[in-house]
Symmetry: C2
């Protein structure tokens, strides 16, 4: 598939697109919400409160959605998969809680982050709890194959987080190193959710691998668009402060490209701002100006469209179906997300 | 078994006792050290370094030891269990890393804590990695029964950690609430290690449950003695600063007993020191003085001996054997640990 055939991130109808995708599996998503709600009941009120906060605050349930759609493109017709799909939202929520502690973030999706409200300690420990519950849910499901895929993904995610910690603030990070981080940190869970969809449907390995590839490439595209949004979205739209990554000294692809394409004085600017953390009032605007000058945001979107196209191509072996369209639309939605 | 038959914590020969216990499974422990070392190899140096630091710094490998001894009292004669035993050390190390972040500790076993050396971020993330690897190891082992026991224990541990966070600094904590915390936070992993020993040996449920009960009661006794040590051990012996719990406002059984047995002015002292954190130079000595006056340390040891006796009694259904003696000696060693 030609990348240019994908909707550009400026597409105005991503709201409708989202509605159409979610409509395909609405009863299952309702079941997932219900399961999440039940599973967050705890004798320890702080667990319920923090858990509901992190899992209720406007999440797209993208990872469970992917597992459901993947199972259905493989012909699965049961309703036993909703409970397993919850696992991905729990693992994701656990990593959000720990991420916010590590990044010292005070906002998430426009609301105060959990660590800002309940402190780092509660975030670390409730994250541990959600992660443990996720494993318990998988064990209840009883498939060693599912457990193998997700426990491997969890290790890869944790490695990715550590790798990101090491490369944080290093302006000399290469595009490849950056991709290695987001592949591990974000795309591995997307890939696992999609692959497990095929496992649930008991499909041959070639379909498992196709869906894993779909999820991996989608995850990379998703994270690249996240990086662009941090320098371009309006806070009200994304529920995030523009420039969070910049203020935290996070090296994302727009920075990598602007740094590499810049001259000496521009590089000195990036080093001062991102490595030494010396950031003045006008520096974010200056950074965005340099990115515009070097087409860094535009090219990051181009890269995202490349991975989006790979994701769509990975589905080629599946015959046309409403579920295949839905998975293609997820790619379009992720690319179009900012508008 | 009568509690008074157990060695008192003042027993001078705990070093020899330890040697005798470990001698029973020395080849397996060597295999465990080797496995830990291999498993900590990572392409990401920070993971290897922090992992080796937390797992190499004088740990007793008590949880793997318990699993090995439990498997052997059940007649297991293979050598396949060493790799699974490593899981318990990984889960334990992960919780140590997160604990030190939550407690803001700067020392562990006489060395700088990992968070003091590499920061909270690395401790949170390497903890997540070790926890994920533990699950991967279990999945490789392939037993759903093992996975069910340990994933349940992990959730209970996380709940215990959150519960401790809530009751921290609350001098009105009851003895029962305190016991609930240590049962979840510490004893659940001991219980899981012992129960899984029986599962590995493929023994009937009654033996699983006996070993679980042994582990649970041993874990409670172990943690009670820890609480006593914090007010009595010399730093050089334990590799810990005396009074860490006091300075962190941790409510342990010696505090619960001294608070409840104290008069109004003593209670005001505990509230000021532990709830408001207003601690002067002589306050630790004063706290120890109050504990002595109310026999709070002595009675905490008595309580520990009670749980130790229950642990030993839980083994009654096993015939006499060197492995049974070893498990009994572990109880004696835990109680005698401070000397």
């Amino acid at each position: 598939m030609d990348a240019s055939a994908l909707p550009s991130p400026i597409s105005p109808d991503s709201g409708n697109l989202k509605e159409r995708i979610y409509a395909r599996v609405r009863p299952d998503l309702a079941r997932i919400e219900n399961e999440i709600n039940c599973l967050l009941n705890s004798d320890i009120p702080l667990i319920s409160v923090v858990g509901r906060y992190i899992m209720g605050s406007g999440g797209k349930r993208l990872r469970p959605l992917l597992m459901l759609l993947a199972a259905r493109i493989c012909g699965y017709r049961g309703d036993e998969d909703a409970r397993l799909a919850v696992v991905f939202e729990f693992v994701h929520a656990a990593s959000l809680l720990h991420d916010d502690v590590v990044d010292e973030s005070s906002l998430r999706r426009g609301l105060a982050s959990a660590n800002a409200v309940w402190g780092n300690k509660a975030s670390v420990l409730v994250g541990d709890f959600l992660f443990s519950r996720a494993f318990e849910l998988m064990v209840e499901d009883g498939s060693i194959q599912v457990l193998a895929i997700l426990s491997r993904a969890s290790s890869v995610i944790a490695e990715g987080e550590v790798l990101q910690l090491i490369t944080a603030n290093d302006t000399s990070t290469s595009e490849d190193s950056y991709l290695e981080v987001i592949r591990a940190k974000t795309a591995a869970l997307f890939a696992a959710a999609c692959r497990i969809g095929a496992v649930v449907a008991d499909r041959p390995k070639i379909e498992e691998e196709a869906l894993e590839s779909y999820g991996l490439n989608l995850g990379i595209a998703f994270q690249l668009i996240n990086a662009v949004l941090d320098y371009s979205a309006k806070q009200a739209v994304l529920g995030k402060t523009v420039g969070d990554d910049f203020r935290e000294g996070k090296i994302t692809l727009p920075v990598v490209l602007a740094f590499r394409r810049g001259n000496d004085s521009e590089r000195k600017f990036w080093v001062r701002a991102l490595e030494r953390g010396e950031i003045g009032d006008s520096d974010l605007d200056h950074a965005i100006g340099l990115m515009t000058k070097h087409r860094a945001l535009e090219d990051t979107i181009n890269r995202a469209q490349h991975y989006g196209a790979m994701a769509v191509d990975a589905l080629a072996l599946f015959p046309s179906s409403p579920m295949k369209s839905a998975l293609e639309q997820v790619v379009a939605f992720c690319l179009a997300r900012s508008h």
